[in-house]
């Protein structure tokens, strides 16, 4: 007997996707909405994956995670603005290199700010949830204001590079090129995280720490160092997600982090706190739900993800992939 895999939550995605097909009617519209939902889900996953590990490993409620999203997106406006020759080029590879450069710099800066955020804002309030909520929200407000100081308070356009604009026609369906890129980047991040968590000793320590951090310390490992590393990587991933989200929306505002925060908390609660696989499931479900209801019932689109979370928690109160011992 090998490790049993819980396949039931996986069925939710095809059930949701195929369940709405009769209501949407047109298969081509359905395909367009599904790809849009997957792209949105993958971007949310990139952002939420770090947050779920931060909470799982140290019980830290980081409501300031959103500031790294905004920071990443604003860094991208600067980088892509400076590389206008590359983004305006008809050569797709030059476009992609410009986007990857923006992503790398956004990750480096968000990760570095995350290091300082952990040291000065989070570390003094370990184990105190109420203070964590207050101080990390305060940290996010300060972060937003600093972004306004550097980039200004107004909305800034973040247009897609030339080669990523437009859509590929698949029969009657129009699949936007950027959404395919977002799905690929999200899948690559998930694969890298899954490999690290399942195949490396560091990953093993993170998974063990999420379950019982005291025992990890009793085995001789300094879990706080591990947590700092996870916090920095989580912040860098939020920065990467910010670049992707900004390009998805094609504009950025300093408050964008707070707007996305609600979605990512829904995702990590649906997924099971501390579970990376659960975060992926939750993010894909949230992305699909937002796109389907946005098309079918625009008036309830905002409410739909809350309803999804309530429904899933009634089925599995600890989330779709609960972490043992929590």
């Amino acid at each position: 007997m090998k490790i049993d895999f819980d396949w039931k939550p996986l069925v939710l995605v095809p059930v949701l996707a195929l369940g709405v097909l009769p209501f949407i009617g047109s298969p081509s519209t359905w395909l367009t909405l599904t790809v849009a939902g997957l792209a949105m889900g993958m971007i949310i996953f990139v952002i939420a994956s770090g947050l779920t590990l931060i909470f799982g490993l140290m019980d830290v409620l980081n409501f300031g995670h959103g500031v790294f999203i905004a920071l990443g997106a604003f860094v991208a406006t600067t980088v892509l603005g400076l590389m206008a020759d590359w983004t305006g080029s008809p050569d797709l590879w030059r476009n992609l290199l410009a986007v990857f450069a923006a992503m790398l710099l956004a990750m480096a800066i968000s990760g570095s700010v995350g290091l300082a955020f952990e040291r000065f804002i989070v570390r003094p309030v370990y184990g105190q949830h109420l203070k964590q909520i207050l101080i990390t929200m305060g940290g996010m407000i300060i972060g937003e204001e600093l972004i306004k100081v550097i980039w200004g308070p107004q909305q800034i356009a973040l247009p897609l590079p030339e080669g990523l604009r437009g859509a590929i026609l698949l029969g009657d369906s129009a699949i936007e090129k950027y959404r395919l890129l977002a799905v690929l980047v999200g899948a690559a991040v998930f694969a890298l995280l899954a490999w690290t968590l399942s195949r490396t000793k560091i990953g093993l320590l993170i998974r063990a720490g999420v379950q019982d951090r005291e025992m990890v310390e009793a085995l001789g490992y300094r879990i706080r160092r591990l947590f700092v590393g996870v916090f920095v990587v989580g912040s860098a991933l939020a920065g990467l997600g910010g670049v992707m989200w900004g390009l998805y929306q094609q504009n950025v505002v300093p408050q964008m982090g707070a707007q996305v925060n609600v979605l990512i908390f829904i995702v990590i609660i649906i997924g099971g706190l501390g579970s990376t696989g659960g975060a992926l499931m939750g993010a894909v479900l949230v992305g699909l739900m937002a796109n389907y209801t946005g098309f079918l019932l625009p008036k309830v689109a905002l409410f739909s993800n809350i309803a999804l979370m309530v429904g899933i928690l009634l089925w599995r109160p600890q989330g779709v992939y609960p972490v043992a011992n929590r």
Partner: protein, 241 residues
């Protein structure tokens, strides 16, 4: 060989507003197995957690070998060569048996770097660990989990092994297996401190015994002497061994 490996002197521990340990004095002779007995709430688990730095002593000193460890952090204490099995066993349920063992093998980056000869010896002590090597640890029975917990603690040589109630809730056959394993471990020269409620377990294994009550050691001596003195047993534990 009978020098002292671990020594607690006048150790007090507070947990929040509660004063749990009231000046614990305890010495573990090197290479011997010491049983820590006492009724529920006497302070046995708190003593073990204080040794491991999971709760810090508010007063008194703890010395391991020649080193003061009273204020060291848990990972540093473990790094000195102390293995700890808590009362709840501390098994990582979502990880496989192999992954649980690999985590405790600090020198190994992957399973192939674990000491083969030592693993074979551990498998001979606890065959269930080998049998369920790739199984999720959370799916094991209570007895198998306890075997894994002890196997994990000894996956690398440690000077001192501390185990909190290894026989709790186990079937008699598993308890006998556990007793044989501790006896073999003792034969390798490992110093062992066991908290126990199972008096037969204590009697069959212990070289030394310390009895706790109300956060203090109220008796310390040879296990044999306590086992032969019914009046002392009644006085200390309220029952005869």
């Amino acid at each position: 060989m009978n020098d002292v490996l671990l020594k607690l002197e006048g150790v007090h521990t507070h947990i929040g507003a509660y004063h749990i340990l009231h000046g614990v004095d305890l010495a573990l002779p090197r290479g011997q197995l010491t049983m820590l007995l006492g009724r529920n709430g006497a302070g046995k688990t708190t003593t073990l957690r204080t040794i491991m730095g999971l709760w810090h002593a508010s007063q008194g000193s703890i010395t391991f070998g020649q080193r003061a460890i009273t204020q060291l952090a848990t990972p540093e204490i473990a790094g000195l060569g102390i293995a700890y099995v808590p009362e709840n066993m501390g098994i990582f349920a979502d990880l496989s048996v192999k992954e649980n063992m690999l985590l405790a093998a600090r020198a190994a980056r992957n399973a192939s770097q674990m000491d083969d000869a030592r693993l074979k010896w551990i498998f001979s002590l606890f065959p269930a660990v080998e049998k369920f090597w790739n199984h999720p640890a959370g799916k094991l029975s209570g007895g198998q989990k306890q075997m894994l917990a002890v196997a994990r603690a000894i996956v690398e040589p440690r000077e001192l092994l501390i185990v909190d109630e290894p026989s709790k809730g186990l079937a008699p056959a598993i308890i006998n297996n556990m007793i044989d394993a501790f006896a073999e471990l003792k034969a390798t020269g490992t110093t062992i401190l066991l908290v126990e409620q199972n008096i037969n377990f204590a009697k069959r294994l212990g070289d030394r015994v310390a009895v706790m009550d109300n956060g203090r050691i109220v008796h310390a001596g040879a296990m044999q002497a306590l086992a032969e003195d019914e009046e002392l047993q009644h006085q200390l534990l309220g029952l005869a061994i």
